[in-house]
Symmetry: C2
Subunit: 441 residues, 2 copies
């Protein structure tokens, strides 16, 4: 058993009681936090395998990025000025690239994504993409915690369906008992590109492996239009009728989620992912955050992929969440900063059913934490702004200096420990060059 | 004469021809750029007083923050959840603090603001506040370039008017021939809190010292309501009638600027400052950017103060500019990234009449430049995204590693050279504590 002592000027727990320990400490035994408190209460004679004195840093829970597509760093910059939120936009920009990639290009894209997430304070991400069997080995190398959903588009075609479901099953099998990675199912979008037949088979698979669904939902009105036409009810009502709402569902974007359906999902393991940068840049809009909040629906925060957003910095997403809501609701107090932090931590933890394991710093929870440099700009005056306001509006993911996942450091003193960032980036550049050659052929 | 050679992997000029030199160099003689080109074209036998090989960094023009109130770091965090854009909001939050500050508190607030601006890549800022005689010595110490406008609120009171105009004149006198600092006049808001009598006298002062006006304009409809009631025309029309539009005017916020007036201001030395974070957080709105752009009105970018915004990072402002415009106009291509970069550089330079001196990297211009770390995250793949998209959406002010103003380094290899940041921050904390004691008394 390894037993680490971590001390720092501030330990911000983001737990239900909002504990903040100035001159605080934590004890991490193997992968778990076993103590949190004030340094003055710590017996100075106690021995630890490792003592890390972080000094002027703020320790807080690692962030949970609830909606990503990690290989898509390959395509960053290729959709500037376009939208990915229409079939045309997606097909004319990303799909033409996706049709030219092969399995060797996936790893470097994923590795760079993991590096960027680690560097900006994300400790858990919730991914959905194709090529999942080439994604998870890279994520495993990074040391991040992740829920990886096998992306399925079958468009009602039997051949595609059979192939995809078999591959999804094999993928779920391969992640059984992984300490950090969990396999899920990722129907790209229910009803839109996953037929009712496919959905039925996906549900059987979810039963067998006890997993949830990570899907795009209500980025427009396609699902609702389809369901209203075919079943006379909304997509949520139809999902409920089909039994899907008993499974964890991560509904990415949820821009056009019908407000009358919020009561239906509020007590279900259902999460709407608020992805403001993506929805703004794509000109599609953002989820009705305050209606979701008022209804008691779980809301998590996500960056989406870096072609839609360009950055994995969840601190940027937090800041823009407060700003866009204030503007749209014409109320400077539209969203409390503490709630925004909850979206980026516990909201994501609840989304993946890990609210008892991660999302806050508490004794007994997994040791997933980050430390921000208090000697950087933005914090002053300490006596004026609270830490919550500073974290949401004044600082950024580039203040992160240390990242620990499951008791292991992935970033220490501003450098990656689990990877050589410039090396994986060089690999990405080479693969991107090759992709460009193929496109031009 | 000092002659410096600076080399770096990328020199991005942001000039009219969009020059980008990969493996580029610049020669800086004293305060000016005398050469820009490719390293391969440089005679290796030439001698320089100083050679700085920046390597994997992107050199670009320093940013111009066109609307700030530098002492207000003192109040950061004090208006969370409130708006400063109504008389009530401003009076109940900031004004109660402002009435308790004294001259000794100004310096540390300004110093921390300068530190944060330098650190995130701003080389010129355009300030407006009271206590200007205590502001400029601190700005001078920082080495930044600034246009400092003496803030005037006189509410039609003769005593206040006389006192303020005399002090403004003394201030303008004190900055005559300063190499980096320019004094301007800062009527807090025409018509709203500066009477027509005061405005007339301010114009005389502007004539005498050949300076412009930095004012809040159209944060709401107050000026227009007043002018329509008293003169039967809009505020812009009345300003025109009074001869004000012949002077440089920086109209901060310009949220409610009447679109029918854009033709009137487009050929005048008039600048609308787009301050998206501030207008969003204050729930007041943002300027009609595309109408201003279409009309050919000069637009600059500004953070406003750090109680409205919390951060001086102009890269954040650039990103949010693109995102909010795409959302509001329901068009992913609402604002070209290159135009956003123009707002943050040449737009600000034009605002202060320095477009021939700063705002782009060109031979003959002042050596105001910044260098961003290309080994940091966000840039990959180089072959996919262009530098403009990366700068606006993927990176941040925390990528800045070097800042030069007027040929002098203010930040080198991630550290300030003109100030001890932690020291000035400690002074700010002490002054803030004292302010809090006064408030509680």
């Amino acid at each position: 058993m390894s037993c680490k002592l971590i001390t720092s000027d501030v330990v911000l727990c983001l737990d239900a009681d909002d504990h903040i320990y100035k001159n605080g400490y934590m004890v991490v035994e193997d992968d778990r936090i076993t103590e949190i408190g004030y340094q003055k209460d710590l017996d100075s004679r106690r021995k630890f395998d490792e003592t890390v004195e972080l000094g002027p840093r703020l320790v807080m829970p690692g962030l949970v990025n609830a909606h990503t597509h990690s290989p898509m760093t390959l395509f960053r910059g290729h959709v500037e000025g376009h939208t990915l939120f229409t079939l045309d936009g997606w097909f004319n920009t990303i799909r033409v690239l996706e049709m030219k990639i092969d399995s060797e290009m996936i790893g470097p894209g994923v590795a760079v994504s993991c590096a960027e997430m680690i560097r900006t304070g994300t400790t858990t991400f919730v991914d959905q993409y194709f090529w999942m069997d080439h994604i998870y080995p890279e994520v495993r190398k990074s040391g991040l915690r992740a829920v990886l959903a096998y992306g399925i588009v079958e468009l009602g075609e039997e051949t595609a369906r059979k192939r995809e479901l078999a591959a999804a099953a094999a993928f779920l099998e391969s992640l059984q008992d992984d300490p950090l990675l969990t396999g899920w199912l990722g129907p790209h979008a229910f009803f839109v590109d996953n037929s009712e037949t496919a959905m039925g088979l996906e549900k059987e698979l979810a039963d067998k492996y006890k997993v949830g669904f990570h899907t795009h939902f209500a980025t427009g009105q396609e699902e609702n239009d389809y369901c209203r036409e075919h079943y006379g009810i909304t997509a949520i009502q139809q999902l409920n009728k089909m039994g899907f709402l008993e499974y964890p569902i991560i509904a990415a974007h949820s821009i056009g989620i019908p407000l009358e359906d919020l009561d239906t999902v509020k007590d279900k393991p259902f999460t709407a992912v608020f992805a403001p940068s993506s929805g703004m840049r794509n000109a599609a809009g953002i989820a009705p955050l305050n209606a979701l909040r008022a209804a008691g629906v779980n809301v998590a925060l996500g960056t989406d992929n870096v072609t839609n957003n360009n950055s994995y910095d969840m601190f940027k997403e937090m800041a823009i969440t407060g700003k866009i809501m204030a503007l749209l609701e014409r109320n400077a107090d539209a969203i409390p900063t503490r709630y925004i932090l909850d979206m980026a931590t516990m909201g994501g933890a609840r989304a993946i059913g890990m609210e008892k394991e991660i999302g806050s710093l508490e004794t007994g929870k997994k040791a997933d934490l980050i430390a921000l440099d208090l000697n950087e700009i933005g914090w002053a005056p300490f006596g004026g702004q609270d830490f919550y306001a500073a974290l949401v509006y004044a600082v950024s993911g580039y203040h992160v200096r240390d990242v620990m996942v499951n008791g292991n450091w992935l970033f220490r003193d501003n450098d990656w420990t689990s990877m050589d960032y410039l090396k994986v980036r060089g690999e990405l550049e080479a693969k991107h060059d090759e992709l460009m050659r193929r496109i031009k052929e």
